[in-house]
Symmetry: C2
Subunit: 233 residues, 2 copies
């Protein structure tokens, strides 16, 4: 094997992970904008220049944290979904949505890192896009399953849709196979509403309008389930 498992690369990976752990802790305590490499180094008993052996730039560190956050969230949702896999699309939808919110409220700063204002030199690498798709893949699979079970009722109405003019049909078909393209928009809207809700909740836009966001979120998820035709299980 080419370059795996040198005892040097093992130590390197461990140190890299340690840096990210400290960074995560500091972000949780303060915020992402308050994260400084020098404070990380101080915390680790290192000199600041040493960190540059592992991350060429502060933004590179943040990019790595973004990737981890996407994967952490993705894994949480995948597990929540798997836990109720046999319970039908409606239950899976609810469980997954709640898992998303649970992760977000437990890790608000990491949520802001991936769904908040992007860092100036954003340019999300492919790796990041891939990790970001994990959550979408779970939701897509749920929709797919629900359509497989009941391949009955004709696609609502036959108003032929121009969905191909504004959506990437191929990638969406890969995420939710078996779902009619006419339903893609509603699926994307549901996804948008979930994360729009969390962004509004965590960033304070619901102050004054809502007082019990746990309950409100559940009701929103209910409404979305209806609009996605997930109820007849």
């Amino acid at each position: 094997m080419s370059k795996t498992a040198n005892s040097r690369t093992i130590a390197r990976d461990a140190q890299t992970e340690a840096i990210k752990d400290v960074a995560r802790r500091l972000i949780a305590e303060k915020s992402v904008s308050g994260l400084s490499l020098r404070e990380i180094s101080r915390e680790m008993g290192l000199v600041s220049s040493a960190l540059y052996r592992y991350f060429a730039t502060r933004d590179d560190l943040l990019t790595a944290l973004i990737l981890d956050a996407y994967n952490d969230l993705g894994q949480a949702v995948e597990r929540a979904d798997a836990r109720v896999a046999r319970a039908g699309a409606s239950a899976r939808w609810r469980a997954s949505a709640r898992a998303i919110r649970r992760w977000a409220t437990n890790n608000p700063h990491e949520y802001a890192l991936i769904y908040g204002t992007p860092i100036p030199g954003y340019a999300a690498p492919t790796e990041t896009i891939e990790a970001a798709a994990r959550v979408a893949r779970v939701l897509g699979a749920i929709l797919s399953e629900s359509r497989k079970v009941e391949a009955k009722d004709a696609p609502k109405n036959s108003k032929r849709s121009d969905v191909g003019r504004y959506l990437e049909l191929d990638s969406l078909a890969a995420i939710m196979p078996g779902v009619a393209p006419e339903e893609y928009l509603k699926a994307l809207m549901a996804w948008t509403t979930i994360f729009g809700f969390l962004t509004f909740e965590l960033f304070g836009q619901y102050v004054g309008s809502a007082k019990n966001l746990n309950l409100m979120f559940d009701r929103v998820v209910d409404e979305l389930a209806v609009s996605l035709n997930l109820e007849a299980t």
Copy 2:
């Protein structure tokens, strides 16, 4: 009059406004995180400490910019709505939604300033909350009008709702008088979806899923109009 119109306060207000203008320009060129008081001062031919006569802190400057951005957006939407005031709720809804998106895409960094990750010492002052409500007020008024016109069809189904357990009925009733509380959730969801869409669009989450966001947005607005029962005008 207590303290208005001293020629000194006039000059002061002018200078304050000039600082904000330069700040806005720099934010548009770079980004909010790249905004530095020293660069503003350089741009204005001042020394950096002079700015502190006008804003005690960088965050204070940002807060002022946030307030202005909310009001700018609010005004844009109010005007767009007023322009089609007599055309019925459905047309007003579309015009207002498009005005929101137009403002957002024209001022992406200012959008990020108000709907992106909040600045650490957030604590939105009442003034800000008030300004933020302007857009909501327009959308609420549209919904109100549509319900006034057709006070007919009974409130959908009579499943008695627990909406009072999680929403602030009083403030919402003030924003959309005449609308049944059972509809508040859908209204908030529509609002959430609009801004969730823009956040996803501007922050890059639709990359790979959508290719024509103009058209997609219009379709989303259509769907929301249906879900809000705005079509029968």
